[in-house]
């Protein structure tokens, strides 16, 4: 990633090309003009001028802001309530990483004149209510299970924006975030399988289903 970033910076300085016209392969790739909304302002043929958003961009802002808010809210909660160190550290990391991403996203939403949700959605409110009923390992398990699903969904959302969005800044943001989100997913999966192994080890032998006769 660092290499890519350096390369991007280097090429940005070298290239006099107008915004969104770069030949640098790591800059946002041109879309299919067949899907461009009629009346889109263009900085070059087929290249949407900055600060416009198509339907994919709007869907992305909405879903990404919703997910980001929930990540921070649930992360704060889990950082306090989590039983294991792995879970509280993961939760702290979610707060840190997603707060930074949320700031970038809300700045872009504002700059593009798109209203982003600022309250927890029903789905995550329900999740929070559920989590409040749990404690100890049960809490950890429920939080991490939810995190795996949320990060799977976020990864697909980012890929969708990279392919279908037209706003170069938003596509750039999605490209920047995707490796991190996939990293979070791997971390959550590792914690889940660790917890499953520990739970199996702690279960009395007579209760292990595979050994029942």
């Amino acid at each position: 990633m660092r290499l890519l970033t350096l390369l991007a910076i280097a090429i940005a300085f070298l290239s006099p090309a107008a915004f969104g016209q770069s030949t640098n392969p790591v800059s946002p790739a041109p879309g299919n003009p067949g899907g461009m909304p009629p009346g889109t302002r263009q900085s070059a043929p087929g290249v949407p001028a900055p600060r416009q958003a198509n339907q994919a961009d709007r869907a992305f802002i909405n879903a990404a802001a919703t997910g980001g808010l929930a990540e921070v809210d649930l992360g704060r909660f889990a950082a306090q309530q989590g039983a294991s160190r792995a879970v509280t550290e993961f939760a702290q990391r979610m707060v840190r990483d997603h707060s930074a991403a949320n700031d970038r996203l809300s700045a872009l939403a504002k700059a593009n004149g798109i209203a982003a949700p600022d309250k927890l959605d029903e789905e995550h409110k329900a999740m929070r209510t559920k989590l409040e009923q749990f404690s100890g390992p049960q809490f950890d398990r429920a939080y991490i299970e939810g995190q795996i699903i949320d990060h799977q969904k976020t990864a697909q959302l980012l890929e969708y924006e990279i392919g279908s969005g037209e706003n170069a800044e938003l596509k750039d943001l999605a490209s920047d975030l995707l490796p991190t989100v996939l990293g979070h997913l791997r971390m959550a999966q590792a914690i889940a399988s660790e917890m499953a192994q520990r739970a199996a080890a702690e279960t009395p032998r007579t209760e292990r289903p595979s050994e029942r006769r």
Partner: protein
């Protein structure tokens, strides 16, 4: 007793998951092809104006990844004798490492330091967001000359230099007539010439199969609707537009098996040579017969795995009881090119092979572990899919020219018979020469081959 609260908790978690999985799904165009929003003349004008920029981006990527110079191996031609085979490792190394220093590092270290050569990562389509079939110019020109059918796109061109594609037109070898050798007469098979070339050589059933394989049918980019990339209302494309002369012309596409669009990896056309011994088909789908594959290509190569879009553009579904078997039977008599140094069990004949080639075979069967999957006796196939787990070496999720580089997952084993005729290599064509493939597997499988061993492997593969 203590079991019950656990079950209740498990149920609570399960219901929570169920609720979460239902909320805020992605829009339908994350899976289905969206309808165009603009008239064709507007789209065409924009695509044409954008084309040089699109090609420059891909060119920049290729030059960053590869040494694209024309450096053939002396005296080694592809089977038809029309094109030399390219020499040497073409993958560019990151600054500060050598192939040896790289192969001494662990996958973790290579990933953390970002040292995997970029060319080992997935190769993007020339225009990822649009995707679709892209033919090399020789194919476009010859189809235009013979059939006056247009398979040129107005938005993109073929991207790889000519020296890294198979010879054109490729020779055709038949299992039913090994004594004849190449039966192509140096021509590209088309709907205009197949009959006179094949009468008296193949059966009526094979002839009808071939006719169907050469008949154009509507395709996602070549059809009569406004959602196309050919200037005219297109007659469509044929199976052999990509599988030229039942081999390949390196035409490329995107996998039909992945969504969303940014995650669809590039596919290099596979040769149909040796189809009779290939038990699984499709790099990802592992279809179990050539009949299945032939039938389903209308849903995949033609329409990207989107039957909804296909219906609108005019899908051709070959009849399973009659047409599909005839198409399959035609494909099943396509042979590999002759390999005079191989014995009947596909081992080198020591009286014909050089010392270097024999050494290459020893490495292939031993230290190189190639024969674990590319089993000589079964046409260098194992009829399995394998996951090389390349993601051990790089952070997945990086976006390059619109392609999100993700783990490849299991991909089917491709044959190595006639492999010198089939550049570029790997399912997406990310490697340009056989020497590149040796460096790739040396790293990925942790083989620690010496330079002599690497060179001998290349010499051996040239005999196949």
């Amino acid at each position: 007793m203590s079991k019950y609260p656990k079950i209740a908790a498990a149920l609570a978690v399960a219901s929570l998951i169920a609720v979460a999985a239902l909320a805020d799904p992605l829009p339908p165009d994350a899976t289905y092809r969206p309808l165009p929003t603009q008239p064709l003349d507007v789209v065409k004008a924009l695509d044409e104006a954008q084309k040089s920029q699109v090609m420059q981006r891909q060119q920049a990527l290729l030059e960053q990844r590869y040494d694209l110079s024309n450096r053939p191996i002396a005296n080694v031609m592809m089977s038809g004798g029309r094109k030399p085979v390219q020499d040497g490792v073409r993958v560019r190394l990151p600054a500060g490492v050598t192939w040896d220093s790289l192969s001494a590092m662990s996958p973790d270290e290579i990933r953390q330091r970002g040292l995997l050569p970029a060319a080992f990562m997935p190769l993007p389509h020339v225009k990822q967001a649009t995707g679709g079939q892209v033919f090399p110019n020789q194919q476009i020109d010859e189809i235009n000359r013979q059939e006056s059918r247009n398979i040129r796109r107005f938005d993109v061109d073929f991207d790889l230099p000519d020296q890294f594609t198979p010879e054109f037109p490729p020779p055709i070898f038949l299992t039913s007539h090994p004594e004849l050798g190449d039966v192509s007469h140096g021509q590209l098979l088309t709907i205009k010439n197949y009959y006179q070339l094949m009468i008296g050589i193949i059966t009526p059933v094979q002839m009808e199969g071939m006719r169907l394989l050469l008949t154009p049918f509507p395709q996602e980019e070549f059809n009569q609707t406004e959602d196309r990339k050919s200037a005219d209302q297109s007659l469509g494309v044929t199976c052999l537009d990509c599988h030229a002369n039942f081999h390949t012309n390196a035409a490329f596409h995107q996998t039909p098996d992945v969504r969303p669009q940014a995650a669809r990896f590039r596919l290099d056309t596979v040769s149909l040579r040796g189809m009779f011994n290939q038990q699984i088909h499709g790099s990802k789908r592992s279809l179990r017969s050539i009949e299945d594959f032939t039938q389903f290509e209308q849903r995949t190569a033609y329409f990207n795995g989107d039957h909804v879009s296909a219906q609108r553009k005019g899908v051709h579904l070959p009849d399973r009881f009659d047409q599909v078997p005839m198409m399959a039977q035609m494909q099943n008599i396509i042979d590999f090119p002759p390999a005079p140094k191989l014995d009947p069990l596909s081992r080198l004949d020591p009286s014909k092979a050089t010392q270097q080639e024999l050494e290459g075979e020893r490495v292939f069967l031993g230290k190189g572990q190639c024969a674990q999957c590319h089993v000589p006796q079964t046409s260098f196939l194992d009829n399995n899919m394998h996951d090389l787990k390349l993601e051990r070496f790089y952070n997945v999720g990086q976006t390059v020219n619109g392609l999100v580089a993700l783990a490849d997952g299991p991909i089917k084993t491709f044959t190595l018979r006639g492999i010198k005729d089939s550049p570029p290599y790997m399912h997406d064509g990310r490697l340009l020469t056989l020497a590149d493939t040796v460096e790739f597997f040396n790293l990925v499988l942790g083989l620690k081959l010496t330079q002599e061993e690497k060179d001998s492997l290349v010499a051996y593969m040239l005999t196949l």
